[in-house]
Subunit: 462 residues, 2 copies
């Protein structure tokens, strides 16, 4: 079995396990109490805070532990917006933030607050100048992830933080995917992270609020964690989180080079091993362990299932749930193919052999799924055919990747310059039909509403 | 060392420890994922939910796991109020709820929502008829703890739930202190609890919302835990919480009788061993492990410190933090003495010898503190003295218990029928001077504002 989904949750680091077990005996009491067990708990909590703050590069009194990365983001966004109420209500996020940030923005919007979503380039990165252009006199808060959770692209945080600083706007960085690899550079104001992403236990997030940043915690008052994270401290997990952050940092340099080489292999070789694949994300400015690609004519869920049977645990599409059928907002924002999307995220320590075995198994798995779905076998297979100028494909009620498969099947039926109209109601078609045109050098003409769905028009060029 | 503060946090139950360690290896992956590790995590989560639901006495799909008891209360109150928006905005709480409930009520009040705090009797219990009398046509939600965390008094939940049901108002029960002992009886609608109170790990709360109860989760959307508890599930802790709840329930019957006998010993013997003590809370309808008493002429913090040196970890006054200097809202609502307050809460398994040793040590400790503070040695020590009709004691700027000690020192200086005026600015005096009068059979005449504080008037009767 090979677990290739570290970006969802990393297996527990051995140091986290040890620290957790040790502090189960020492750290169950209330650190607010004055008796022996309470003082011991307080000392553990203080030491964990010091260690985590050192790894983040902040003061200990700027950092609180939250019950999760999600709650760190929710509290951070709400507290920073409320703290800056007098400056204005405008919120900036990138279009490819984690759902926790986007959902916090949704709440703000629902309450009447204006939100700007900064678009990203095809690599998944924001352009610093585009981000800076979104800053307004009434901007209360700006949010940017340190690196993307679905495609691994590293964001230009330092540049964006500089622009925000110049405008007097605090920048909140969601560092969930990168904190295990190193501190976030640049002059950011708030930072959120999640321990189970770096090999710490579940149940611990970090929220850092730099001194001088206006911050007004929302929700019911609670005295724990400087009033920023209500509820009894989950001390054994906090101790384990801090200890494992230190440990993964100590191993980061060596492991970073090794994983980067392994993901580079996948990036380089998959397009040769599997026809009709698009590797997505920035090839250079990226996290060491993540590589993402999309395969035409297959659906993510079936590929995942087949890969699982073959012993590989990977993720697809949206990183958030397996129940969401709409295509990932990240891939949509990048304008890349979402069909048959596979994210490989290697945990530290992944053996080379596992990656090699994956590269052997993947082509068979994709070919098998394509065969089952009746996908066109080869790209050049557009020979004979009718000579009607327009062919209409009715894919209403059919799920991704069927609309694209049907399109690929009939494109050879129209003459060069002829058009295919695909009727579809699956949301993924909106993203995948243009992406297919791009990959196939056909011309995408656009979409229009049609009874029961949308009509997508494609002109045959080759 | 004897740890007598189980009501703050119980030491980890051995079953919790075992389950936690076992599921660290099996339960770190994302239960929303479809691959092997995710499916295994999902199975563990489902099994834990079944077990917890069985112990609570609800359906599995009515129960979600939250990051803490506090967050279960906060989410439960907010979600239930929002779900009942059309019925009205009125919220009812008892005056002795845990701070998490009262802080949630504060938020509601700050947003313009009317809140009724139902007073309690001197035992700490609400009267069912008084509670029912607070119900209004626009009542959206009622909250009542199953048992009080500071004095152990059991509340008449079933009767109150019946009255709420008849009025069509959902009742939220904070069962944090009692769930380890048994299910909450009666026809309640929502329930919150906290695993570390029953010997489970920190980082897990329960929120139960009965089918048919209108509930609208507040805050940013998240698909985990039915949308009622955002953030990645803390699975190992959840598994440990459910397993330990089952385990403590299996041991509850035997342990309940044993602890009840031990706390009864303390209740019965402390007043004979230590002069000027008031044992508070209901002597019958109470939790097995909690007994609370207040000692005249000492301050809680010093007694706690001395008991800690003698090897006993107990709590005092407000259950929430050691930094709060105002007297506990629970003792205030009960109208009992708060001075020198000590809560003993025995964890299951407490040896009899520890309790006996406590009864030996306590009198010495209290006597030592009294001596240091210059407290009057004996109650009858009011012999000689001036014969002025009124004596004024200036205790401005002096902390509890000094104002009461000074009062006790001069009461003998006035003739029978004469008055003492105590000037004080410590909040505790407002509660403790009337309580002292009650214990000493003197007449409390009332308070009035005075320069720099408050003047309390007492007439000497004996």
């Amino acid at each position: 079995m090979a677990y290739f989904d570290a970006a969802s949750a990393a297996p527990l680091h051995p140091v986290a396990r040890q620290a957790l077990m040790a502090s189960l005996d020492e750290g169950w009491a209330d650190p607010a109490r004055l008796y022996r067990e309470g003082r011991r708990a307080r000392m553990l909590l203080d030491a964990a805070r010091e260690a985590a703050a050192e790894a983040v590069g902040c003061r200990a009194d700027e950092l609180v532990f939250t019950p999760s990365g999600t709650s760190a983001v929710h509290s951070g966004v709400a507290g920073a917006l409320a703290g800056r109420r007098r400056a204005g209500h405008h919120l900036i996020v990138s279009a490819v933030e984690h759902s926790s940030v986007l959902h916090a923005a949704e709440v703000h919007r629902a309450g009447g607050g204006p939100v700007t979503e900064v678009a990203v380039e095809r690599t998944g990165a924001v352009s610093p100048s585009a981000y800076a252009g979104a800053l307004r006199p009434d901007t209360a808060l700006a949010c940017l992830q340190s690196a993307n959770h679905e495609v691994g692209t590293v964001q230009p945080v330092a540049e964006v933080a500089g622009a925000c600083r110049a405008a007097g706007v605090p920048l909140l960085v969601d560092a969930a995917q990168s904190l295990g690899w190193g501190p976030v550079e640049g002059d950011w104001s708030l930072l959120a992270a999640s321990a189970h992403k770096w090999g710490g236990p579940a149940g611990v997030g970090l929220l850092v609020v730099r001194k001088g940043v206006r911050f007004a915690p929302q929700g019911p008052r609670d005295e724990r964690e400087s009033g920023r994270a209500p509820g009894f401290e989950n001390l054994p997990a906090i101790v384990a989180a801090a200890a494992s952050l230190r440990a993964v940092r100590a191993e980061a340099a060596g492991e970073e080079a090794r994983l980067r080489e392994l993901t580079e292999r996948i990036r380089a070789r998959v397009p040769g091993l599997v026809p009709d694949v698009e590797v997505v994300g920035d090839p250079e400015r990226r996290l060491p362990g993540i590589v993402t690609f999309s395969c035409l004519y297959v659906d993510g869920e079936t590929v995942l299932h087949e890969l699982d049977r073959a012993g590989f645990s990977v993720s697809s599409g949206s990183s958030c749930t397996s129940s969401t059928l709409t295509p990932s907002h990240v891939l949509r924002a990048m304008g890349v193919l979402s069909e048959g999307n596979i994210r490989v995220s290697l945990p530290p320590g992944t053996p080379e052999e596992d990656v090699e075995r994956f590269l052997t198994v993947l082509p068979e798995v994709v070919a098998g799924v394509r065969e089952k779905l009746g996908a066109p076998v080869s790209a050049g297979d557009t020979a004979a055919g009718r000579s009607e100028d327009t062919v209409v494909v009715d894919a209403l009620g059919r799920r991704c990747p069927i609309p694209v498969i049907e399109l690929a099947k009939v494109i050879g039926d129209v003459p060069l310059g002829g058009t295919v109209r695909v009727l579809a109601d699956d949301e993924a078609a909106r993203l995948d039909i243009p992406a297919w045109c791009d990959m196939r050098n056909q011309q995408y003409l656009g979409e229009e509403p049609a009874p029961g769905g949308t009509a997508y028009s494609i002109r045959r060029l080759t």
